[in-house]
């Protein structure tokens, strides 16, 4: 036991810890037959897995502690210590995951703010609007008109999101995995090519740089193909993360540009309510989806999730017959920095769910839930927490809108509010052990801070800095 702690705790390095564990057990896996080895592997993985320690002891956990105790030959009274160690590890690893999520969110926000400050044309739309927000808010309309128009726009938008989610659930329920896979691939295709093209051209227009079409297409082609490969297939984790963040930034910029002012706020409010309903209510589509996935031991969908850590594919003895499963076994022995997320494309296991449309409406219907991956018997597991890409997008929209105001205090306040919301959500996640929506708390804090800071704090602080009064 002590060597377990020494090696893994102090170094805070999941990978090394996992590697060490796996090396310790690999011999066992290879030596023993499949079922028992999978139990062993799940055991060892489970120990590192933070959440499980909080669950009431069921058989599996009992097995875990027993196994561990057996392995190390320590008496059972050390179970107590084990719990405490696990709690300590929970805290450490939980906190580490939180911080690991802070970093990409911060990077995404910085990227969005930088793009908005540099490329002025993203700050407002020149009259064009998305088809999901048909009502055009004219600045000369009365406030009442603007209000109902924005509510109508946001409702239509949410309606589209709901419809897409339901369609995705139906496709999932009836096992049209290929359709879903194709849908997701098409949506990332569109993001990586079309929206990147728009971004690049706006960038060049702003700085008056001239480029010929051939060079542009070559660049774009390379960029897009690498992105598709990194997200959907194999590639280094860091590359996948970068591309996912880039696609979130593109989406957020498009929304900031084309959504009218009031509609944006009403939409943010509505989408957090929808998130809450969809994940927590018994009839919520996402909850249904999670339960269906659980019952099928399915995995989450690729290219819709940002994962803070690696995902291990320990899968052996896989039940599902989907053809994509074949890839899994071939990756069995690769435990390093393979981007395990890409493996998950080839399977449909796991409990996490992010919906993403493909096609023209794809980007709008992101579902954001932070979930714990339900620990399954045979298949792979994921460590760490995942954050849906839609969460990134809506956070970026909020902070992007704040940066357009020109007041950096508002930006900082929204930033802190969002991070605290994220933190709080993760704490609740650790406490409740079930899928939780990531948007409501963060957006709630974020919206409150946006309006209050902009309205009240901004003049206050303007006065203070003008007179150089420090409080």
């Amino acid at each position: 036991m002590s060597d377990l702690l020494d090696n893994s705790v102090n170094e805070y390095d999941l990978l090394k810890a996992a590697n060490r564990q796996l090396e310790n057990y690999r011999s066992k896996i290879n030596a023993e037959n499949m079922p028992s080895s999978s139990i062993n592997s799940e055991t060892e993985v489970k120990i590192i897995e933070p959440r499980n320690s909080r669950r009431p002891r069921d058989q599996v956990d009992g097995q875990a502690s027993v196994e561990l105790a057996n392995r190390n030959g320590s008496p059972s009274n050390e179970e107590e210590n084990l719990d405490e160690i696990e709690e300590e590890l929970v805290l450490k690893y939980g906190a580490q995951h939180v911080v690991k999520l802070f970093v990409p969110v911060t990077i995404c926000l910085i990227f969005v703010i930088a793009s908005l400050s540099a490329i002025k044309s993203y700050q407002k739309s020149n009259g064009a609007q998305l088809i999901y927000t048909p009502f055009n808010e004219d600045s000369q309309d009365s406030n009442g008109t603007k209000l109902w128009m924005s509510i109508a726009n946001a409702s239509i938008f949410i309606g589209v999101v709901v419809v897409m989610t339901v369609v995705l659930i139906l496709l999932y329920k009836f096992k049209f995995y290929k359709v879903i896979h194709g849908w997701l691939a098409f949506s990332s295709l569109m993001l990586l090519f079309l929206f990147t093209f728009m971004f690049i051209t706006e960038f060049f227009k702003q700085f008056n740089i001239v480029i010929d079409m051939i060079t542009l297409w070559i660049l774009l082609w390379n960029f897009g193909i690498v992105g598709m490969a990194a997200i959907h297939w194999k590639g280094p984790l860091i590359l996948q993360q970068i591309f996912l963040i880039f696609t979130c930034v593109q989406m957020a910029l498009i929304f900031i540009k084309y959504l009218p002012e009031w509609t944006t706020w009403v939409l943010l409010a509505f989408i957090s309510i929808w998130d809450l309903i969809a994940v927590l209510c018994p009839f919520g589509p996402l909850r249904i989806l999670v339960e269906t996935a659980k019952s099928r031991n399915d995995n989450l969908f690729p290219s819709m999730v940002y994962s803070s850590t690696l995902i291990y594919m320990m899968a052996t003895g896989v039940d599902n017959d989907t053809p994509m499963e074949q890839d899994l076994t071939s990756n069995l022995n690769q435990v390093e920095n393979d981007n395990q997320n890409t493996q998950s494309t080839s399977q449909t296991q796991g409990g996490d769910l992010r919906n993403r449309h493909s096609g023209a409406r794809a980007h709008h219907a992101n579902r954001q839930t932070i979930q714990e991956l339900e620990h399954q018997q045979q298949e792979e597991e994921e460590n760490g927490v995942k954050l849906g890409l839609g969460d990134f997008i809506f956070y970026s929209i909020l902070v992007g809108k704040a940066s357009i105001l020109g007041d950096w205090n508002t930006v900082i306040a929204c930033f802190v509010a969002i991070l605290i919301g994220l933190c709080l959500t993760l704490v609740l996640l650790a406490v409740f052990h079930k899928p939780l929506p990531a948007l409501p708390i963060s957006l709630f804090f974020g919206l409150i801070f946006y309006f209050l800071t902009n309205l009240v704090v901004r003049p206050f602080y303007d006065n203070l800095t003008y007179y150089q009064v420090f409080i």
Partner: protein, 728 residues
């Protein structure tokens, strides 16, 4: 709740803005830049395309000494300057900069253009015409003609409009802002530093603070109209955006006869509608085109009264737009006629079905154009001169016949209208060029106040003002008195325009009756007052409905300088105050007098009375509006596009026939970065101090924190605690 806060936030934002920025910068709002334009092969204008802001230390040139100093300073290696100058030195400074524009220290030139400010100074010369010495020569009849060649109509032209500068030019015209720049910025901070300049060296100490100016100018666009059009056509976002917009607006025309017809001989009476200057929208335009417009309206009013008698010919009154830039509007008009693509006009003669009418070139017999008329306001000028094209006069017999007829009649009716002395003299800038170039070989004359060269020194410049036309009003007149005040200009104009009207009346007239009435002097007086002195006069207001008046006021405030009429050519969907006003005046003066006294309810197309009138007289009236002094203005004005035919396929990204038609575009800039600010430059000593303090603090902080972290357990632990540690 969010929306409630939004209400409040908007309110609060208007109360408290960014206070620090207000402390740092003084925003000068009433400033006008020189913008970038393109023609089919070149670009003209100010500022570099990929730069958006130009900063420099303010330097003012108000007399010879300061200019001399600038000449010498420009050769030294000093920080960049922004020169604020009086008009008398403007041309010299531009030349100073252009002489060695790569090494020039001048980063921007600001022209002071407030006449009151300038007239109080000793150096009160005004800068001259911004146009070239031969305006529109590339698209005139003589551009490729070896015998005639371009002629120097505009000797005081500096050609600044058509050059390409790499620094921005701005003009300030508001007295308060001029004082802020010159008194509170230059005199207070910079003057004593520049005064220390000796003949060999100049340096600015690091402890001196200087006042500087930032000129923002962000222009989009590309090398020329051709390239720019092609690039604009590439669609890269959900919305289409173009880098350059074709210049042009609308030509307005109306038939003074009872109805539009191709059967009667058509005489065109035309005038120009637009002007330009180096600074966008800033076109006082007193001589060109307002003076000709006043004359045109006087004649129109008179002839409209004779409408019922003039059933032997069709008078087509046309206001050509987009003439200042190589005759874009008239080439459009002429090419449409030639290619039979003239837009269809729908007429309904009181019936439900409509007929359509298309103007054809066959029956157009002559063109009488009113050119610059302003110089007659001076004592010594009495005459108008008849200009015509010598080439067609010599070659085409019917042209010669028409011109002879017109000349004879005009000289008959007025002793002050004379033909030009040199019969081989070219046709000056005139819309007739487009007709003749497009093979519409009809006799056209252009009546203008000059003989061999323009009288006005300020053609197409910011100083083409009424004062320079000798049109002034005594100070102590009330509005009612001023409206009826007869200027010399109006007085002489009355006689001349009456003669012109008589000429037109007698053209094709089978009977020998002459026009007995005269052009109304009170109309001319009112027009002179309202155009030159008070653009929001009651006379104009009485010609418009309340909503039209509101639109007019909005248009006056829409562009800088606010409150002044602008006749700039502009881009397509942008109504400009002066041109819009002219179309309203044309409507008013060409109104059908028989229907003038209809009541408000009857003053509409659907009214029974009107339809009956239309049926009985077989005429068609398009626009109706009812005006305050119980006048129903029923008129038929038509408009056609005045965008050059080269842009017929603009949406496809190509220009057509650019050798035949002009292809002027303007950069589609937006007003965000276009502004002028003054501020203090950071003292180098303070900047250096801050940076060094900052770097020292940063390095020190890292070092200290690192050390503190390493030895934390020694520094922060109580002595006895260490022992406890070991035992634990």
């Amino acid at each position: 709740m969010n929306t409630f806060f939004f209400f409040l936030s908007v309110l609060v934002r208007t109360i408290i803005s960014d206070l620090n920025k207000e402390r740092t910068y003084v925003n000068l709002l009433n400033t006008i830049p020189c913008i970038r334009r393109f023609n089919s092969s070149h670009q003209i204008g100010c500022g570099k395309l990929d730069y958006s802001s130009y900063e420099g230390i303010v330097y003012s040139v108000r007399d010879k000494a300061e200019f001399g100093r600038l000449e010498k300073l420009n050769k030294l290696d000093i920080p960049d300057l922004v020169v604020v100058t009086l008009p008398s030195y403007f041309a010299k400074i531009v030349q100073l900069h252009q002489h060695d524009s790569g090494n020039s220290r001048i980063q921007g030139i600001v022209l002071v253009s407030n006449l009151d400010y300038i007239s109080n100074l000793t150096e009160s010369d005004l800068n001259l015409s911004d146009d070239s010495t031969s305006p529109n020569s590339k698209f005139s009849l003589y551009s490729t003609n070896k015998t005639y060649g371009p002629s120097e109509w505009n000797p005081s032209g500096t050609n600044f409009m058509f050059q390409n500068f790499n620094i921005p030019f701005y003009t300030i015209y508001d007295l308060n802002e001029i004082e802020k720049v010159i008194d509170e910025c230059y005199d207070k901070f910079n003057q004593h530093i520049f005064d220390k300049y000796t003949s060999n060296s100049f340096s600015i100490k690091s402890s001196e603070s200087l006042c500087g100016m930032q000129l923002g100018l962000r222009m989009t666009g590309a090398v020329s109209s051709t390239v720019c059009t092609r690039r604009s056509n590439i669609m890269h976002t959900l919305e289409s955006s173009s880098f350059c917009d074709p210049l042009g607006g609308s030509n307005y025309f109306t038939f003074l006869s009872q109805r539009p017809s191709n059967d009667l001989p058509i005489t065109i009476l035309s005038a120009r509608l637009d002007a330009f200057s180096l600074y966008e929208y800033f076109t006082p335009a007193a001589n060109e085109p307002i003076s000709s417009l006043i004359g045109l309206f006087g004649i129109t009013e008179l002839l409209a009264k004779q409408r019922s008698q003039m059933n032997y010919s069709s008078i087509l009154v046309v206001l050509f737009d987009n003439e200042a830039f190589d005759y874009g509007g008239s080439s459009r008009f002429a090419s449409d006629l030639v290619r039979e693509k003239f837009p269809e006009i729908k007429l309904s003669f009181g019936q439900d079905q409509e007929e359509s009418f298309v103007l054809k070139k066959n029956n157009i017999t002559s063109i009488i154009e009113l050119g610059q008329l302003g110089a007659i306001g001076f004592e010594q000028n009495e005459n108008l001169y008849i200009h015509r094209d010598p080439i067609s006069y010599a070659k085409e017999p019917n042209v010669a016949k028409t011109i002879k007829q017109l000349t004879d009649k005009l000289t008959k009716y007025s002793s002050n209208i004379k033909p030009i002395e040199n019969i081989n003299q070219q046709l000056p800038t005139s819309s007739i060029h487009s007709f003749l170039r497009n093979n519409i070989l009809i006799g056209g004359i252009s009546l203008a106040d000059f003989n061999k060269e323009f009288n006005s020194k300020f053609y197409h410049g910011v100083f083409d003002t009424p004062e320079n036309m000798n049109v002034t009003f005594p100070d102590d007149l009330s509005e009612d008195e001023a409206v009826n005040f007869t200027t010399k200009f109006a007085e002489k104009l009355q006689g001349l325009t009456t003669s012109i009207a008589q000429t037109i009346f007698s053209l094709h007239n089978p009977t020998q009756t002459e026009l007995s009435e005269q052009v109304s002097l009170s109309t001319l007086n009112r027009l002179v007052y309202c155009f030159y002195k008070n653009t929001t006069c009651k006379y104009f207001q009485d010609m418009m409905t309340t909503s039209q008046w509101k639109s007019y006021l909005t248009l006056l405030e829409a562009n800088l300088p606010k409150g002044k009429l602008s006749f700039y050519t502009g881009v397509d969907d942008n109504p400009i105050s002066g041109k819009w006003l002219s179309s309203m005046l044309l409507r008013y003066f060409s109104r059908n007098l028989d229907l003038e006294s209809l009541s408000e309810d009857d003053c509409s197309k659907d009214s029974e009375k009107v339809r009956k009138y239309e049926r009985e007289n077989h005429i068609s009236i398009r626009n109706f509006y009812y005006v305050k002094n119980s006048t129903c203005v029923a008129s038929s004005i038509f408009l056609t596009s005045s965008v050059s035919p080269a842009f017929d396929q603009f949406e496809k990204g190509v220009l057509v026939e650019t050798d035949k038609f002009p292809a002027w575009t303007e950069s589609s800039w937006n007003g965000v970065d276009v502004q002028m600010k003054i501020f203090m430059f950071t003292r180098p000593s303070i900047a250096g101090l801050t940076l060094s303090l900052g770097i020292v603090t940063l390095v020190l902080a890292f070092v200290l924190t690192f050390l503190a972290d390493k030895f934390a357990h020694r520094i922060f632990y109580p002595k006895d605690a260490e022992q406890n540690e070991i035992f634990d």
